[in-house]
């Protein structure tokens, strides 16, 4: 069985994920509204309740990579002074 479920869902703020959720299953949020959820009953139920759209890991990674690359391109256009006051986004590899 796969360790994780991959999907997209919009963070609606307070209550979107709770302290109990964090204790019940693995959960991590990533660029492009991608969420990686522990593959158990409670994790799957959480993604369904959030109207999540399930993705394959490859699809989810592609969404993340595209958003990071767009942010990197925007950072590269900053002046040298502004670059020194911020941080070039680094690529993110989903678990």
């Amino acid at each position: 069985m796969e360790l994780f479920i991959y999907g997209t869902a919009t963070n609606t703020g307070k209550g979107f994920f709770t302290h109990a959720d964090r204790q019940n299953f693995y959960l991590s949020g990533h660029p492009a509204d991608v969420w990686v959820v522990g593959n158990n009953e409670k994790g799957a139920l959480w993604l369904a309740e959030k109207n999540g759209v399930e993705k394959t890991k490859t699809e989810a990674q592609a969404l993340v990579t595209a958003e990071v690359e767009a942010a990197q391109a925007a950072w590269d256009l900053l002046s040298e002074a502004e670059q020194s006051m911020s941080h070039r986004p680094t690529q993110i590899t989903l678990p």
Partner: protein, 322 residues
């Protein structure tokens, strides 16, 4: 031996029952049971989602508590004067900051807050005081700095290091103390830096990380001099901290580090890993304490409105003499 009054600045309350939501370290006398009672953290805690900010931003200045938090300024990506206030569930609009700055140094509470310096993109000497509604001018900051660490209160504030660009050296090792009207020089840090994370008070503060060689280094302040503390677990800069924590109990998170979700906690001697943010980000703003913290906004890598609340479970016990 120090008394509770001396340590906490409060008297022990005489209550008919245990309070509903005691805070870590709170002590009270329960007249119903005839017991002296104490609250303390009994677990590791977790991060949960909070209300979304109205304005996505990076490098905002955070201060206050988990249920009365503030974020001010930052980049949206344009630099902003916007202040937002958090009540533990939702954000509302606060007072307009005197100018559009990013990486403003901050300290204090929602009703007695302090902002100093900040970038546009280079540093400035602005100090502003917040009363929960309006920002008003305070005593001018001694140098044109941005990206300082902050600690303390509106009337006993502390500025830690900072970005002195275009003045050299850029990585400042200066600290400054505010008394509610004017800034005076404090002790020099051992290692210059900017974009450092800090917490504590004017006489018992700590700072960790920042630019250059300071990325893992911690220093502790006693009101006159800085000394080396425990080495951080990851190099980091540009992020949040539980600003209103204490020198020996605070956290850093949402930083520019190898793992954007990484959270670490300091006990006055060494750092340990704490539960990760759900949504990794850098250039976030922080507020609160090590048992009730806020992580606000940042880059993920899009400009983020996301708020996360860290809560450690609080238990109660009776104090005995055995």
């Amino acid at each position: 031996m120090a008394s509770y009054n001396t340590i906490s600045g409060l008297k022990v309350k005489y209550l008919s029952a245990d309070p509903a939501n005691p805070e870590d370290g709170q002590v009270w006398y329960n007249s119903g049971t005839g017991k002296l009672r104490v609250a303390s953290v009994v677990g590791t805690g977790t991060w949960a989602s909070g209300g979304a900010m109205s304005t996505a931003r990076q490098d905002g200045g955070g201060f206050g508590t988990q249920t009365a938090g503030v974020v001010v300024g930052g980049e949206t990506p344009a630099r902003t004067t916007a202040t937002e206030e958090y009540d533990g569930a939702a954000w509302s609009t606060g007072g307009v900051y005197p100018a559009s700055y990013t990486s403003i140094g901050t300290a204090g509470t929602l009703t007695a807050g302090l902002g100093f310096g900040g970038g546009s993109p280079y540093g400035n000497t602005t100090t502003a005081e917040y009363d929960g509604t309006n920002w008003t001018a305070g005593g001018s900051f001694p140098l044109s700095y941005t990206a300082m660490g902050g600690a303390g209160t509106q009337t006993a504030g502390l500025s830690v290091a900072g970005d002195a660009y275009p003045t050299s050296p850029r990585n400042s090792n200066k600290s400054f103390e505010y008394n509610g009207a004017a800034w005076t020089a404090g002790g020099d840090l051992g290692t210059g830096r900017y974009a450092t994370m800090s917490a504590g008070t004017q006489t018992a503060a700590a700072t960790n990380g920042g630019t250059g060689p300071a990325a893992t280094l911690t220093e502790e302040y006693d009101g006159s001099s800085w000394t080396a503390g425990g080495t951080g677990l990851q190099p980091q800069s540009f992020g949040g901290s539980s600003l209103n924590g204490t020198q020996d109990d605070w956290m850093t998170y949402g930083t520019n580090s190898p793992n954007y979700a990484f959270t670490q906690g300091y006990n006055g001697t060494s750092w340990s890993t704490r539960p990760s943010l759900a949504t990794g980000r850098y250039s976030s703003a922080g507020a609160g304490t090590a048992s009730a913290a806020l992580c606000m906004g940042g880059r993920a890598p899009a400009f983020s409105t996301a708020t996360e609340e860290f809560t450690a479970p609080i238990g109660t016990a009776s104090i005995t003499t055995s």
